[in-house]
Amino acid sequence: MSDKMINIAWMYPDTLFLHGERGNIMALVRYAMELGLTPHVRRIDLGTEDFDPMEYDIIFYGPGEISSFRAVMEDIAGYARPIAEYIASGKVLIATGTTMSLFGEKITRFSPDAEDGRGEVIDGLCMIPAESFEREYVYGNDLDIRAEYNGYSMELIGNQIQMTDIHFSESEGYQRFGSVIYGRGNNGTDGIEGVVHNNSLFTNMLGPMLICNPWLTVRILRTAAEIKGIEVEAQDPEYKLEIKSLGLKKKFIEEKQNNQEK
């Protein structure tokens, strides 16, 4: 086994299957190799019995359908304590899109038949101080944020397809992942996007965000390597295509903002 091995757990890929998140695993693999690391990806499906979080350096959860949340929650409950220890140890967990809600305190589903629109309540994992409410209507848009991760500040552009609004207040050990430049973020009111706790990040940004923002991908990999005690000698790769792409997207977003102001 390589002494530069980075073990990546791809959680429930067929259940948390929305929005092309496979791309994020491909980005982790590509940039791990560019940094001289040896990535190893294992799919963890619902019902996988020998999953031990501490065997991994990065654990990735993509977004899935809310209808699958109970099944996912039941599975995670089987290793809730080890996953909490994993996060506490400073290892990297990434949860994107609606899956961020699972790690909060509770999720209130929308009910068209209830007067206040509030229906079934699903208990969360209580690993971040956040509460989620399913929206009556989906909110889909671009998301441009100034993110902070492990001491680095960077601009990220991606998307959010918001099925739940999330309410989170910063407290010791629990910071915002980013501040919203354009888009909705957690709930469209407080300018906060996502949550960072230790080195684990929970974000509404979804789709191939690690492909489009490789400067974050490389920070994540360097963090995972550092926690594992692997020295990474390689310089950061060049991001020629991605920087050009960021420029096109910023221009598009600016034009949208200008049109909104008119």
Binding site: P13, D14, T15, F17, L18, H19, G20, E21, R22, G23, I25, M26, A27, R30, R43, D45, L46, G47, G64, E65, I66, S67, S68, A71, V72, V138, G140, N141, D142, N159, I161, M163, L206, G207, P208, I211, C212, L241, E242, K244, S245, L248, K249, F252, K256
Partner: protein
């Protein structure tokens, strides 16, 4: 009939006439919208409709094609059919089609009503128009900005089935829509057998959650993205909801001879894209179940079937033969179909890909998600001379996704513009006469217009 309904009918008829003068082929909700402003319950006031002879066709992909096909087959058999074949599939589109055929006293004189229905408007339409038959083509990732996830649409359709108890015609090879069978004791399945264009994907790709237990669905092979031989290893859910076989199965597909069979009867294949097999099987199923049209009669009718939209269009420009394939940017299936069509052509070719912003709803946004659900591996041996990526928003992301998918970066040209003239110039400069193009329809229309002026 109330005077309000009469006024609504007259308004709708005049509106339809106006639209006919402007553009006969244009599917429109406009006339129906004007009529329903006057009488919001207009559809329920139209008489002479037998619910047993009404069919709604819904789903993510293929509903326009199947609606066109079913209507064509029934009309070929001499039936009078009211349909929204032009594709206006909201409640106002259905109203416009009914108003067009209704007499001034609001009576429909037709043998069958066949309506393409938007998944989200199905409940509203069914509330006003009694219908005993529902065909669901498939339910897949699509239009996330309004649907969020496929289960959202499933719940919309399930609500209709639960309340109104319809007979269902279901794609037995697509797990999500097939599972609607649990909600009725009147489900009929159609299916497609494995054929030469069937394919597999390795486990670096995602499939989907089992609609019954949420664990992994495994596909032994795909006939089309998201459809094929499937099973859930946890709960045992499998094709045609566990029945040994589908009621209607397309078999023996021969894409060279352009023919296939349904339940042993040979059919012509007017359009030879593999995904069309599901549409043919669906149409044969619906026509027999609804109107007793035999497979032989459907096969005969299909020989002269012409699809109003969706086929491969061609454009000649400076000696280049450009084959245009429409794709829906908000789901992976149509891009995968494009890739499969390109890969099936052994000749040297230029491939032009114009993934752009999604402009269905406000706010417009950037979405290149689904390139990562697609399998580009067959393009490696597809004799592609050059990939050209265009659009002034996503050209670099789209190119990057193909590089991740294994495309040779040396064969990639990025043209970050959406200008029709520049795209045509780039195609001409490449000098390969065999060109495949997928891009937004309005950009292609602009390219056609520019090429016409250049002649």
């Amino acid at each position: 009939m109330s005077s309000r309904t009469t006024r609504a009918l007259l308004t709708g008829k005049i509106g339809n006439r106006v639209i006919d003068i402007i553009d006969k082929k244009r599917g429109t909700n406009w006339a129906g919208r004007q009529a329903m402003k006057i009488d919001p319950e207009l559809i329920s006031h139209i008489t002479g409709i037998d619910p047993a002879k009404v069919l709604f066709i819904t789903g993510t992909n293929g509903k326009s094609s199947v609606t066109n096909m079913v209507t064509h087959i029934l009309r070929s058999r001499g039936f009078k059919v009211v349909s929204n074949v032009e594709g206006a599939n909201l409640i106002t589109g259905v109203a416009a089609a009914l108003v067009k055929e209704a007499s001034l006293d609001g009576r429909i004189n037709a043998d069958y009503c066949v309506f393409e229905t938007d998944e989200r408007y199905l409940y509203k339409i069914r509330e006003q128009l009694s219908c005993d038959n529902l065909l669901v083509t498939n339910l897949e990732k699509d239009q996330v900005q309004r649907n969020g996830d496929p289960d959202f649409v499933y719940r919309k359709i399930a609500r209709v089935v639960d309340r109104f108890g319809m007979k269902l015609f279901l794609n037995g090879d697509e797990p999500r829509s097939c599972s609607l069978a649990d909600r009725t004791d009147r489900a009929v399945f159609y299916s497609v057998d494995k054929h030469d264009a069937s394919f597999t994907k390795d486990d670096t790709f995602v499939t989907m959650p089992c609609p019954k237990c949420h664990r992994s669905i495994r596909f032994d092979y795909y006939n089309n993205d998201g459809m094929g031989s499937f099973r859930c290893e946890n709960c045992g859910y499998t094709n045609h909801n566990g029945a040994d076989s589908a009621d209607y199965t397309a078999t023996d597909a021969d894409f060279t001879a352009r023919k296939f069979c349904v339940n042993g009867t040979e059919f012509p294949m007017p359009y030879d894209q593999p995904y069309m097999l599901y549409n043919y099987a669906a149409a044969a199923c619906a026509c027999k179940e609804l109107a007793g049209v035999t497979e032989e009669e459907s096969a005969a009718a299909l020989a002269d079937f012409v699809l109003l939209e969706g086929r491969i269009e061609t454009l000649e420009y400076k000696g280049n033969h450009i084959k245009y394939i429409r794709f829906k940017q908000e789901n992976p299936e149509t891009l995968q179909n494009f890739i499969n069509v390109v890969a099936a052509d052994p000749e040297e070719k230029t491939v032009v890909i114009g993934i752009g912003t999604v402009e269905d709803y406000d706010p417009y946004y950037i979405n290149s998600f689904y390139t990562f659900d697609c399998d580009f591996s067959r393009l490696k041996d597809a004799n592609v001379r050059k990939f050209i990526f265009t659009t002034d928003t996503i050209a670099y992301d789209a190119a990057n996704s193909f590089i991740y998918g294994g495309a040779d970066p040396g064969k990639i040209e990025i043209l970050p513009v959406s200008d029709e003239e520049k795209i045509l110039e780039a195609i001409a400069a490449e000098g390969c006469s065999n060109v495949y193009l997928t891009i937004k329809l309005h950009t292609f229309e602009g390219m056609k217009e520019f090429a016409r002026k250049e002649k």
